[in-house]
């Protein structure tokens, strides 16, 4: 049985699945139920001066019948009294000594940070998370992403927190920046023990086209909110990986953003996350989703021969490279498995209109399969190996990208301009 024991910046938990700081981690009753369901840790809903929320506060991006592939919110930090939160954190930690309980914080002044950190540490919590990420409401008050977007402010506040805290400090980064790396480095300079990312992305989720008001609608007005859920995963993966591959960074990462199942979690870990946090999937489907996450991760580790999490954390980071170091002579062409093809010809239209006009309907062709004369033909000489057809094909494994031996030795763009390495003739250029 693979060992799922997790250590992220000195914060330990029985498994890497933590609730992100958000409504599912709002209260002791909830967090304890989540731990019973299998969650390994929880980052408490951000504490600060309790606020007043609006209604409505959430919006969903629905796509082709699937509800909420993206999600957004305009809620703020906790609206519950601090003493109630602290008491419940204390009780939760008492009941679940092995689980990770991390307290998320957001206040303004040095004095406020000092006081709230003292109280948070006194609960027996395992770590702090500084919310420098919230892109709405709080940033207008000089907190949240207003801090996360300014490396100097980030560094300063982080250094206060590290000074006042006796437990590990994670800095939660905002994705609302053009390059995440300087912000991760600022947290590092401030003395953070690790970072968590991403928080939500500035967004307008939809517009009510009859009322002429964006969503979520609060009376006759709306405001920009924070975007999250499955749709943000690629952005989050990139930001996690960008930090993980920066040699001078080197801090542990708690990965967040669109994690819905064990596969997503594995991807975050392969790109350098030593724990993962989940908000939207739990909001939509409940704590019970962790059962499949745990089993799926375990089974993945078993089948890949990973005994412990550190065997896989960061394993795909070295393969994240610069464009200039990719092999220009590596050539693939699309291969259609006529036995699997259902004859929808989505690949044909995609290639004709969206790629390089090299997949053709082939009514008189020789392909033999259930789709008969509707199996398309790929013109190998023209196929640029772009992958578009494989992406649209509805049948798993039907289109494979086959490697072609073109006789050229590997050569990157950098080698080509630097050393004149020979590159193959372009395909599909007329």
């Amino acid at each position: 049985m693979p060992d799922l024991t997790t250590n992220c910046a000195g914060i330990t938990s029985p498994n890497p699945f933590w609730l992100a700081s958000a409504p599912p981690a709002n209260s002791g009753e909830q967090v304890q139920r989540a731990f019973d369901a299998g969650w390994g840790g929880a980052v408490w809903k951000t504490l600060g001066q309790p606020i007043q929320n609006v209604s409505s506060r959430f919006g969903g991006l629905h796509y082709q019948g699937t509800r909420a592939i993206g999600f957004n919110n305009i809620e703020l930090i906790t609206d519950r009294p601090l003493e109630v939160n602290f008491r419940e954190i204390y009780e939760t930690k008492k009941k679940f000594p092995k689980h990770a309980v991390v307290v998320s914080l957001m206040v303004e002044t040095r004095e406020e940070w000092k006081e709230i950190i003292q109280r948070a540490v006194d609960t027996g919590a395992d770590g702090l998370e500084l919310n420098f990420g919230c892109p709405h409401g709080m940033c207008e008050r000089g907190m949240g992403s207003a801090v996360g977007q300014e490396p100097k402010v980030n560094e300063r506040i982080t250094s206060w927190a590290v000074e006042f805290s006796t437990i590990p400090v994670l800095v939660k980064l905002t994705p609302n920046v053009s390059d995440i790396v300087p912000h991760g480095l600022a947290a590092k300079r401030g003395g953070a023990h690790g970072v968590s990312l991403i928080n939500t992305i500035k967004s307008i989720i939809a517009v009510d086209i009859d009322r002429f008001v964006p969503e979520p609608r609060v009376g006759n007005l709306s405001t920009n909110g924070g975007y999250c859920g499955p749709a943000v995963k690629p952005i989050a993966l990139h930001m996690v990986a960008a930090l993980a591959r920066t040699p001078e960074f080197g801090l542990p990462i708690s990965g967040i953003g669109g994690i819905s199942n064990w596969r997503d979690a594995v991807e975050f870990m392969l790109l350098g996350s030593s724990s993962v946090q989940v908000c939207t999937e739990v909001m939509l489907r409940g704590y019970r989703v962790v059962e499949d996450m745990l089993e799926g991760l375990e089974e993945y580790m078993r089948t890949h021969g990973f005994a412990k999490l550190s065997d896989l954390v960061g394993k795909a980071v070295p393969a994240y490279s610069e464009w200039g170091d990719l092999d220009l002579n590596y050539e693939t062409v699309a291969r259609i498995d006529a036995q699997k093809c259902i004859g929808c010809q989505l690949c044909v239209v995609a290639c004709q209109d969206g790629a390089h006009q090299c997949i053709h309907a082939d009514p008189h062709g020789t392909a033999v399969g259930p789709a008969g004369a509707r199996v398309p033909r790929v013109d190998d000489a023209e196929c640029v190996g772009c992958n578009l057809c494989q992406i649209v094909c509805p049948v798993p494994g039907c289109i494979q990208m086959a490697e072609v031996d073109n006789g050229f030795a590997a050569a990157t763009w950098n080698q080509h301009v630097g050393e004149g390495a020979k590159i193959r003739p372009k395909k599909g250029v007329h």
């Binding site: 199942n261 064990w262 596969r263 489907r285 059962e291 499949d292 089993e295 799926g296």
Partner: protein, 437 residues
């Protein structure tokens, strides 16, 4: 290992009525599931399999976890996936029906997950540390298999006494072959036994040898899962003619060996329950040109499942509703049935007797009960031929529990599995000083 069935069986002529999913089909269907909370499908399942959870795991590619979720609730989940009347259970309860879109094909998805686990030889459960206690299980059908497996998880030694040579009960000898063939049920029995520590004594009829008293002395607790008895007879003249069979007995022969149907042209199946409907579809499937259901009530009042009868009709079944056989006639072998028409109160209408030609008759009007077996034991109550039990399967006599058809009067495999497991948990509490001690 249970003794497996021979390859030379009439039933091997059948293909699956509901085909297996390809991996692609399974994932597409799984992604349709809404992942309901406190799901109606889960409530509708007598073993309360966490259906949304196992379906989600198919969607994420966690097939092993999916199978684990199923077997955790129902160790006979592989055969139940095939034989359950899902249309009236989980699938019938799916909220998609209310939404007006096709309900999720839970049975097929369950088959997909459990078949993979069988193929991969994945085992999920281990026997508990030996408790030093032993339990005797009478009958080797679904109820006893489910009970024995659960008892082994708690470390109690088990002995199954089965009068037939094969395990699985009616799951092996009775299921319509287009749902599941006998070898699959026998394979499942072996899979259950592989938890270890279950001694199987086939060819042993409890009551005769060992006696009930001997059984009680030999074990710390007893579970009775003897199912139902032989086919009920019509008690009409000519029922002993060649070609007139009890349906369950006939089905057992076609499942475990061969039945001769060459030359049979007109078959009658008497009854309106699910065994009758199975009999009709089996004879049609085996090529009998004309198969007629003879039922004493109206079509709308038939106790058999709607979906089974519509399938039978599509396959060419004929029917004589509000008819009852009063005699079978023929020279040594049945040639005709004498029928009488019935009124709306199911009473014969005088002067309506007539004959129809028939060279094969299956009588499917019910099975007798075996509760009488226990009638002699003080503390055990027999009601309508069934062993009376409480929600734990407890009979009222210290250490004696029962479940499955012999207690519920004849339901489904999944009920037997649920009742066997519930009784096993109660036996465990009893053996460890809890309830009924």
């Amino acid at each position: 290992m249970s003794k497996s069935v021979t390859d030379d069986r009439t039933e091997t002529a059948f293909q699956d009525f509901k085909h297996a999913y390809s991996p692609e089909q399974a994932v597409v269907e799984a992604n349709r599931c809404l992942f309901c909370s406190d799901a109606p499908c889960m409530q509708a399942c007598p073993t309360h399999i966490d259906v949304p959870q196992f379906i989600r795991k198919i969607a994420t590619g966690n097939l092993r976890g999916s199978a684990r979720t199923i077997f955790e609730a129902n160790i006979l989940g592989m055969s139940c996936a095939r034989v359950c009347p899902v249309e009236t259970l989980c699938v019938g309860a799916c909220v998609c029906n209310t939404l007006g879109v096709p309900p999720i094909q839970i049975g097929k998805l369950q088959r997909h997950a459990t078949d993979r686990a069988f193929e991969a030889g994945t085992r999920f459960f281990e026997a508990g540390p030996p408790s030093g206690k032993s339990v005797g299980l009478v009958g080797g059908g679904p109820a006893s298999l489910a009970a024995a497996h659960e008892l082994r998880r708690h470390g109690h030694a088990c002995t199954i006494y089965e009068k037939r040579s094969v395990l699985g009960g009616l799951n092996t000898t009775g299921i319509a072959p287009y749902k599941m063939r006998a070898d699959r049920s026998a394979l499942e029995a072996d899979w259950v036994l592989a938890i270890g520590g279950i001694e199987v004594r086939t060819g042993v009829e409890v009551g005769a040898a060992p006696t009930l008293a001997e059984l009680e002395r030999a074990h710390d607790a007893v579970f009775v899962g003897v199912g139902l008895g032989p086919d009920t007879a019509l008690r009409v003249p000519g029922e002993d003619l060649g070609g007139v069979h009890g349906a369950v007995a006939f089905i057992e022969r076609l499942k475990l060996g061969r039945v001769a149907l060459a030359g049979v042209r007109r078959a009658l199946v008497v009854g309106g329950g699910n065994t009758a409907l199975d009999g009709v579809r089996e004879l049609l499937g085996l090529g009998v040109p004309e198969v007629t259901l003879v039922y004493r009530g109206k079509e709308a009042k038939m106790p058999g499942y709607r979906h089974e009868w519509s399938a039978a009709k599509q396959e060419g079944a004929r029917a004589l509703f509000q008819h009852l056989p009063v005699a079978f006639e023929g020279a040594g072998k049945v040639e005709r049935a004498r029928l009488v028409r019935m009124d709306d109160q199911k009473k014969p209408i005088a002067g309506t007797e007539h004959t129809v030609e028939a060279d094969l008759v299956l009588v499917a009007i019910g099975q007798s009960t075996l509760g009488g077996l226990l009638g002699a034991l003080a503390g055990i109550r027999i009601a309508d031929g069934c062993v009376a039990i409480d929600a734990d399967g407890f009979t009222g006599r210290k250490g004696w529990y029962a479940g499955g058809d012999c207690a519920n009067g004849g339901k489904e495999v999944v009920n037997a599995a649920a009742e066997g497991k519930a009784a096993a948990l109660a036996i465990h509490r009893y053996l460890t000083g809890g309830a009924h001690a």
